[in-house]
Symmetry: C2
């Protein structure tokens, strides 16, 4: 299959379940490396402090889980989608702790797909993604729109 | 000042402007390092591809900017706050690209502070944070709640 045939455009995203991606293994080292740089709260770095926290044990930063989710979406479909980026996130809920050793699975649903009014050569596809651990517990839910080029629209998008 | 006296509790957060934090310098190497691991879309890694994108030049991942914002909040006040974590983010908007060389400033406002009904030893403080570049352009806006221990409540929180 040629790269062009492999590209997903706006028309390829219909409301409904898009796919399940992963699993992605997360280690204590991954958790500490992210936390050291971006979120050095004790519950993300230190087992003893974490065991006394609301999280009851070492747990990854919520921003780490979001970043892992982004990477899993990239590997799952965004890497071969004519994506132009995202204006933000509509909803983001951290439901349960990301633990060392977790194997994360991502379920992605298209909740809405509509042509953009301001840029008619593009569409807005809104995804609901749920990141779960191997026990099937949801750790993070996110609803987020992505701007996707329409098929056959090859001109410059401003 | 002792560490205990330096700790911020729920009662220390009143609606209004909390503070301005930063600047935090962001390099092209920072942008590429984050993108390589978590968001390897061409506009975050490759100058030529980025110049043809909607972003019109190399730009950091939105998740990178969120993670930088988290670190700036930690350094600014969360690191000395009796914080118990966050249930999620209510609103997140990426307004303009994060560019190599940007110096990011964070303005943080308390939009609401209320005692938790389910855990009365804690309060929910909702922050609005705006990350801006040196020209004063807002790059990212976020509204997010954080659970904070009330002063004098030293018991275990479940």
């Amino acid at each position: 299959m040629s790269p062009a045939m492999n590209t997903l455009f706006f028309e390829d995203f219909k409301p409904g379940h898009l796919g399940r991606f992963g699993p992605q293994h997360v280690t204590a080292e991954d958790i500490r490396a992210f936390a050291s740089e971006f979120d050095p709260q004790p519950m993300h770095l230190d087992e003893a402090a974490a065991s006394r926290s609301l999280l009851k044990g070492l747990a990854g930063s919520g921003w780490h889980l979001c970043s892992i989710t982004m990477r899993m979406m990239f590997d799952g479909f965004i890497g071969r989608t004519a994506s132009l980026g995202s204006p933000g996130v509509n909803e983001l809920r951290w439901l349960a702790p990301l633990r060392p050793g977790d194997d994360i699975t991502l379920d992605v649903e298209v909740v809405e797909a509509r042509v953009s009014k301001s840029r008619p050569s593009t569409g807005i596809v809104t995804f609901k993604t749920v990141a779960s651990n191997a026990s099937g517990h949801a750790l993070c839910e996110m609803v987020s729109p992505i701007i996707v080029r329409r098929r056959g629209e090859t001109g410059e998008v401003r």
